[in-house]
């Protein structure tokens, strides 16, 4: 008998992974054994601690919330809507439900019988891949672009879930590893290891692994002088190599490493050393599979081969920031870590672009991050600002050289755009012909800014004094910074204009100590934390740091800390400013993560009373520092 109800369910399911990967008749068979369940608002579908049902669930209509209960308090972890899957995890983890599923509004869910779906879990490669990926990425649907990078779980369950799934999650390892012959000279093997940034090379004979050379071998056998560096691999390699089959789980890999006291495992087709090599698992891979630590992200960045992999790192980084904010890690620590990874991302983009260009750069060059990236304060995905300096060349080849670097910069900014950094709205990019020029042109540029700071010019240039050299030749950097040092030293005119610029930002509080909110436009009635609170602090820090000739410190927090050291009589104010800056950064970052925006506008209605007080407390140091600047640079007459 035809079953139109089952057909309509199959028609619905086929739009969503993992059902996408099933044949229609398979789907129909699954649908025929399914259930349709209606949930009243706030009705419980399953409860944490309850034994697993015979079905898992797919939301048809409405919204089902997943929550955990701890200390009698229910915390909402995630919301599932149309096409989302619930209740699958316990089936694999072989335990009870961890979370409670409760409808947030009227909902209709399909119950899909495990018994009916079982064959596809094990036999359909795509289904299995989808499930593993979703467990691994901690989101319900790894293909769901909108939601990617959004955490399903908080820390508490984060670790618990990872521990659970570890046992059936295959480890990700390096496929097609670097191999060498037993007669190869060790020196060359070591060279290719360091070129490819790997810690081991498998030695194979007739396609079969017979040994392995790792960093450890180089350390203990070569560096100690036990063997000469020209020796053949056969003598030095560790043999036999420990081999494992493909699709080994994280836990198994870890066990085997511990058991044999090795840091690398060789993956072969059938798991014995009598079959061809297909990959290598390092300790790093085991660590990487278990957590998103900054170190792992850095490693992943350095080894990324395309924009997609870099984007993945940035998404993981967002998770890391969210986690760190949740666990109240000081914002300056978070900034440090994040900026390291941001820098690594830009560096890798440059390296990949240079490779793509096909020819090495004609002369030495420096890539400069400016603005928030230059200050190492970029936590959210805001825009990229950059500049490129290349070595002086003969005038006849200048145009060619410049063309090369413009093209290179274009590629780099494109990479970064794919990762998620939007282009600077004011076009402050190395790919802009104005900001990609030779060293002497840059020196001239800075001199113009410093010596004839026309109002307009200064406004554009201030962020150029927050620069961070992140790639290239230190020699060029030094020439530029020394020139800046020399020119700004006691340059009253320059500092006066900079100070005037600093004081131009609108005040955060009105006469009655009320928040001054935006009067019109898209963000009417919300508080512009960037221009009213953060920028005054950033500008003041820049101005004061430059008067002390501190060009190497660009981070606002560190600038204030250094200033406190240099001017003990004002130390208190500077420390307050540093603290205020951190608090404001946290506000902005939380806002940005919450609304997936750049966090610039705070909706005051959403802030709690204590948060508002906290926010207002940050404004006193702003007033004080602005007063101090007014007095110090005798600006009263300008305003």
């Amino acid at each position: 008998m035809k079953n139109p109800v089952a057909q309509s369910i199959a028609d619905f399911l086929k739009r969503y992974p993992p059902f996408i990967s099933l044949q229609y008749d398979e789907l129909l068979a699954v649908a025929e054994q399914s259930k349709v369940i209606y949930l009243e608002k706030n009705q419980v579908l399953f409860k944490g601690g309850e034994a697993i049902h015979s079905d898992f669930y797919v939301v048809k209509d409405g919204v089902v919330g997943l929550s955990v209960t701890s200390d009698a308090e229910e915390t909402l972890i995630d919301k599932c809507d149309e096409g989302d899957i619930l209740g699958l995890r316990p089936y694999f983890a072989k335990n009870d439900y961890l979370m409670t599923a409760r409808s947030r509004e009227e909902a209709i869910v399909y119950g899909i019988s495990f018994a009916a779906f079982q064959p596809y879990f094990t036999e359909n490669v795509n289904v299995l891949a989808f499930l593993l990926e979703s467990f691994a990425s901690q989101t319900r649907n790894p293909y769901d672009k909108e939601r990617q990078g959004k955490l399903v779980t908080e820390n508490m369950i984060f670790s618990e879930q990872v521990a659970d799934i570890q046992y059936f999650q295959p480890i990700k390892y390096t496929r097609n590893p670097i191999t060498a012959n037993p007669d190869d000279i060790l020196k060359f093997i070591a060279k290719s290891m360091s070129n490819s940034a790997v810690g081991s090379v498998i030695i194979q004979e007739n396609q079969l692994p017979i040994g392995i050379i790792t960093d450890r071998d180089l350390r203990s056998k070569i560096s100690t002088g036990l063997f000469p560096i020209e020796i053949d691999a056969r003598t030095v390699m560790t043999s036999p190599v420990i081999t494992v089959p493909e699709n080994i789980s994280v836990a198994e890999a870890q066990m085997i490493m511990l058991k044999h006291n090795v840091g690398h495992l060789c993956v072969t087709r059938d798991g014995s050393d009598k079959s061809p090599v297909s990959g290598i698992i390092s300790e790093h891979d085991v660590v990487a599979a278990q957590s998103n630590t900054p170190g792992v992200l850095l490693k992943q960045t350095r080894r990324a081969t395309n924009a997609k992999e870099l984007k993945y790192v940035r998404e993981k980084l967002t998770d890391l920031i969210q986690n760190s904010i949740d666990t109240n890690i000081p914002i300056s620590h978070i900034s440090n870590i994040v900026s390291e990874i941001n820098i690594a991302l830009t560096r890798r983009s440059i390296e990949l672009s240079v490779e793509k260009m096909g020819t090495p750069p004609p002369v030495r060059f420096v890539w400069m991050n400016i603005g928030s990236q230059g200050r190492k304060e970029q936590l959210l995905l805001t825009d990229q600002d950059s500049a490129l300096i290349f070595e002086d060349v003969a005038p006849e080849i200048y145009d060619d050289v410049k063309r090369y670097f413009l093209e290179l910069a274009e590629m780099v900014t494109e990479y970064l755009e794919k990762v998620g950094y939007e282009h600077s709205p004011s076009g402050l990019l190395a790919s802009n012909t104005q900001w990609c020029k030779s060293l002497s042109d840059w020196v001239k540029q800075y001199n113009t800014w410093i010596n004839t700071p026309a109002e307009k010019g200064v406004e554009l240039s201030t962020i150029f004094f927050d620069f961070d050299f992140i790639y290239g030749a230190p020699a060029l950097e030094n020439v530029l910074t020394e020139n800046i040092h020399e020119k700004i030293n006691h340059n009253k005119k320059f500092f006066a204009f900079l100070a005037a610029d600093t004081l131009r930002n609108p005040a955060p509080l009105g006469f009655f100590r009320q928040f001054l909110v935006e009067n019109d436009g898209e963000h009417k009635d919300s508080f512009d934390i960037k221009s009213r609170a953060l920028e005054p602090l950033i500008d003041a820090a820049r101005l004061l740091a430059l008067t002390h000739n501190l060009t190497e410190i660009t981070n606002t927090y560190h600038r204030y800390k250094k200033l406190a050291e240099l001017e003990p009589n004002n130390a208190e104010l500077y420390d307050e400013c540093a603290e205020a800056f951190n608090v404001l950064m946290r506000f902005r970052t939380e806002e940005g993560l919450l609304n997936n925006s750049n966090g610039r506008y705070l909706n005051l209605n959403e802030l709690s009373k204590s948060d508002k007080v906290k926010l207002k407390n940050c404004f006193q140091p702003i007033n004080d520092i602005q007063d101090m600047i007014k007095n110090r640079f005798s600006l009263t007459y300008i305003n």
């Binding site: 008998m1 035809k2 139109p4 109800v5 054994q33 259930k35 009227e106």
Partner: protein, 201 residues
């Protein structure tokens, strides 16, 4: 039962099976509801006949998609069947059966479940008329009416009559795209599930 042959009460096997379901004490096993919808030639139980029946089972607050029944009947007296339905029957390659066969299959499917329908009394009466034409007794199943449940939930007067479409609008249930017996049975089942939860049945 042993005297059936004596009394001349030569009932067909399916009917005996059906009747026997109500003898045993089944109160402890899971209650099964069968929600059904019938396409008819009209509203007169004596004159009009059944065109098709769609039915679906509900057990423990969930529609069991596999617990499904649909049948189309051959029409002798009337030829008022909609062309759309004819087309549907042709497309899906479903065969039509005579009324007697339809009744046998329907009772075999429904068993002793609680029958649920929208304005169910007319449908029950039509089935009883069809059973009467086979010289059999009346339906024994307990019945529930979604219209009556709706009125009870809304605390409206008994006399109000709402159509299936009105009810699905009121309960924000998407109407079926195909107006077939099975599509309407499914919509009725969703209505029933909602009302059942709201009324705590």
């Amino acid at each position: 039962m042993a005297f059936d042959w004596l009394t001349g009460n030569n009932l067909p096997q399916f009917w005996k099976n059906y009747i026997s379901l109500f003898d045993s004490d089944n109160s402890n096993h899971h209650k099964r509801y069968v929600i059904f919808y019938m396409e008819k030639t009209g509203l007169d139980p004596k004159e009009d006949v059944i065109l098709s029946i769609g039915a679906i089972g509900v057990t423990a607050n969930a529609i069991e998609v596999g617990d499904f029944f649909e049948i189309f009947l051959i029409q002798e007296q009337f030829d008022t069947q909609s062309p759309a339905l004819d087309k549907y029957v042709k497309e899906t390659g479903t065969e039509k059966v005579v009324e007697a066969e339809a009744m046998i299959q329907f009772l075999n499917f429904a068993k002793d479940a609680i029958l649920v329908g929208h304005n169910i009394n007319l449908d029950i009466e039509m089935i009883n008329q069809a059973l009467k034409r086979l010289d059999l007794g009346r339906l024994k199943n307990p019945i529930m009416d979604t219209n009556a449940l709706y009125l009870r939930w809304k605390e409206l007067a008994d006399t109000t009559q709402a159509t299936l479409d009105e009810l699905s609008d009121a309960l924000k249930i998407k109407k079926s795209d195909r107006h077939t017996a099975s599509g309407n049975a499914y919509v009725t089942a969703l209505i029933f599930l909602k009302l059942k939860t709201k009324l705590g049945i």
